[in-house]
Amino acid sequence: MSSRGFLALILHTHLPLVRHPEQDGVLEERWLFEAITETYLPLLARLQRLAEEGVPVRLTMSFTPTLVAMLSDPLLQERYVRHLEQLLELAEKEIHRTRWQPAFQRLALFYQHRLSEARAQYVERHRRNLLAAFRYLARGGWIEPLASCATHGLLPLLEPQPQAARAQILVGLQVFRQAFGHLPKGFWLPECAYTPQAAQWLARQGIQYAVADAHAVLFGTPRPKYGVFAPVRTPQGLAVFARDPAASQSVWSAADGYPGHPDYREFYRDVGFDLEYEYVRPYINADGSRVSTGLKYYRITGATDEKRPYDPEAARRRAARHAEEFVRARRAQARALSGLMAQAPIIVCPFDAELLGHWWFEGPDWLEALIRLTAAAGSGLELVSLGDYLERVPAQQPVEPTPSSWGQGGYSETWLNGTNDWLYRHLHHAAERMVQQATAYPEAEGVTRRALNQMARELLLAQASDWTFILKAQTHTAYAYRRLREHLARFAALDKALTRGQIDSELLRSCEAQGAFFPSLDYRLYAAAPRS
């Protein structure tokens, strides 16, 4: 195929670990359930359909260890099926309630159909194991999977304690290897937060590439000849791909991006908030607070509060048109670049996977249409994974990228500001204690070893960038505080017990039960003299 340009779509899948064995109906577990229903299952269904039809599909997808752990967790799998059944019950009630409102009844039927499809897909087709489904796509070559940090730790802000930052990477690679059976070619840096130190650790582990935001490369030294349209090679030997802002803008932007079109489904009008309280009570949060159910009847309509009923068919047609627009714009970009570059440009478009489906309901339709269009003869674009590209175009310009992120402002301000800066002294202190204890017990056995491993888990879980992000976003802050307090409290209690030489097995058991994550974690990777 002669193509004018390469297009790389990267879906970053991630959720913080939200698993509460101690309590039923914790609101935050819905984050996982909604992502499964609205993003993971629709993506899997579309990718499998394309694969079965023989359409060349090639996506790059990252999987964080916290998500991998949740997708394979029997308790959460069970709870998800229960959650689906609850929603199906609501959808059925809605079909009756909306009998005199055909525009809404059609939607109630639409949701009932979707939810029963989701249940069949989840329970029968995938036997509750979505990780296996993604692994199947990876083995078949439809997706190129990427590893990421253990708990989505933001590396630049963890680096004052280097072993702790490095452990985020090493644990991420171990979890990936267990999940996919081999080392990944590439690594997703949480929030695209590139640092030279991270590049060194990754290169030393044999990782070929990472993805950064545009300015990481554009502001790199020396000036990159091809801008964001070719990866660069860092002094440590890692290839770094840069996000193309023009392509990202059309999908990410709340103001002028596709997801804001009036035909698309309105995220905020949900029956969980709109309907009479006693009626929806069984389907909202266990504590009685209203939450989204996923049954949403309106379209964005426009800058008005008078929302019109959602029309799934019209929305799907709009998604197809937006896919055409996207392909046209990328082709025009590639054509314009051909005059400026001696090699075919690569346009790199990373998105949060949950953007597609969860925030932008029609996102998976858009993605499927986009893949079909690029696959068509004469599209002028070739869909590649980042690993494929490196095989096709092996030479890269040596450039030292600048540390940066894809968060607001382009650096670390989202995770370091007046709402969350107080946390770092506690995270860094815990990391320092972890290194000291791991060094003091080089070959621990029995309960001592279990305590050290659990300390490492609690530390990793406290380091998730999600908590500092939530504190900044000012939504769900009580939960972020709760999680930070829990993990650091358990860490401190175990640290103290270890120092006293009296490990309370009851304490240890309760920590292990609640902070269950990555059973084969080995605390020794925190020891002061790093094993290579």
């Binding site: 909604e34 992502a35 009756h96 009998r99 005199w100 809404f104 630049p156 004052p160 935001d213 545009a214 554009l218 502001f219 030294t221 020396p222 000036r223 990159p224 000849k225 091809y226 801008g227 964001v228 802002p245 023009a246 990202s248 990410w252 995220f267 905020y268 009008r269 949900d270 908030f273 709109d274 009479e276 009626y279 209203r290 939450v291 989204s292 509060d305 929302k307 009923p309 400026l340 949060d352 953007l355 925030w359 600048t402 540390p403 940066s404 650096y411 670390s412 301000e413 800066d421 002294r425 506690h426 860094h428 939530i470 939504t475 769900h476 307090r485 650091l488 409290a489 920590c511 609640q514």
Partner: protein, 270 residues
């Protein structure tokens, strides 16, 4: 009860520590803790006449190129009040290296260091002037590339290159969110009406509303919830014996007026 029930984040860890972090090319963040002994020891080195007018300061050193902090690398002293434990430092200096020291500054200008930070480097905030001869790129060619990067929005000068394409992308797309209050109208209101039709009959009968069967409970009661559209609406309630031979039909009319379409906001009336 877990260990977290009584946990509060400690005010300090009984250590002397000064940590420097990078927020962006223009701002650093420092946090610290001073062990009581550190300050006592340092104060004991003061001459009696130096005690008056003594300040606690954060001394910022620019140490680009691996220089060690000395009096000449000091670019700023930030005076601190007693309870301060962290500070944002506007260094305004991309691509530079910094170390900070926490210390006592006498009126005579003598600095006694109590803690020294790690070394950090601020990120770059503009394209590098350096080019690689093997990968040479002219200003014009680079600018043309930037135009393709920003969809035509790039500035035409290197100064305009800096932030025109740095836009907020994703974080937390998985978050659930409660709906924000619509528009800026303090009197916004959404109105809708459901009809709960309920009744009681012989539990053996079959009840249908508009032809749709309704579940009759063992005690003979039943209830149906129906969203009532705007306008006048006739419907049928039918009760029939299980064999269907005997049936009775009721055809009530329900009218809803003045609420506007379901789910729409009420129009403001004055």
């Amino acid at each position: 009860m877990g260990p977290d029930a009584a946990f509060t984040f400690p005010a300090g860890y009984g250590q002397t520590r000064l940590v420097l972090m990078v927020k962006d090319p223009w701002w650093l963040y420092a946090y610290w803790e001073l062990e009581a002994q550190t300050e006592r020891t340092t104060r004991s080195r003061l001459q009696p006449e130096e005690v008056a007018g003594l300040l606690t300061v954060l001394r910022v050193h620019e140490v680009t190129g691996g220089r060690e902090p000395t009096a000449s690398t000091s670019i700023r002293d930030v005076p601190l009040s007693v309870l301060t434990r962290s500070w944002y430092l506007p260094v305004n200096a991309p691509d530079r290296e910094f170390i900070v020291e926490l210390g006592l500054l006498t009126a005579g200008g003598r600095f006694l260091s109590m803690a020294r930070s790690n070394r950090v480097r601020t990120p770059r905030a503009a394209p590098s002037p350096a080019t690689d001869p093997q990968w040479a790129v002219s200003d014009e060619a680079f600018e043309a590339l930037l135009r393709q990067t920003t969809g035509g929005r790039a500035g035409t000068s290197p100064a305009g290159w800096t932030t025109s394409f740095m836009r907020h992308a994703g974080a937390g797309s998985w978050l659930a969110a409660a709906p924000p209050p619509p528009s800026g109208n303090p009197l916004w209101i959404h109105l809708d009406a459901d009809l709960v039709l309920h009744g009681r009959t012989d539990p053996r009968t079959q009840v249908r509303v508009d032809g749709q069967p309704v579940a009759v409970r063992r005690d003979g009661t039943f209830s149906v919830r129906l969203n009532v559209p705007e306008g006048s609406h006739q419907f049928t309630i039918e009760v029939a014996t299980p064999d269907g031979r005997l049936a009775r039909t009721v055809t009530p009319v329900i009218a809803r007026t003045g609420l506007g379409p379901s789910g729409a906001a009420a129009r403001e009336r004055r």
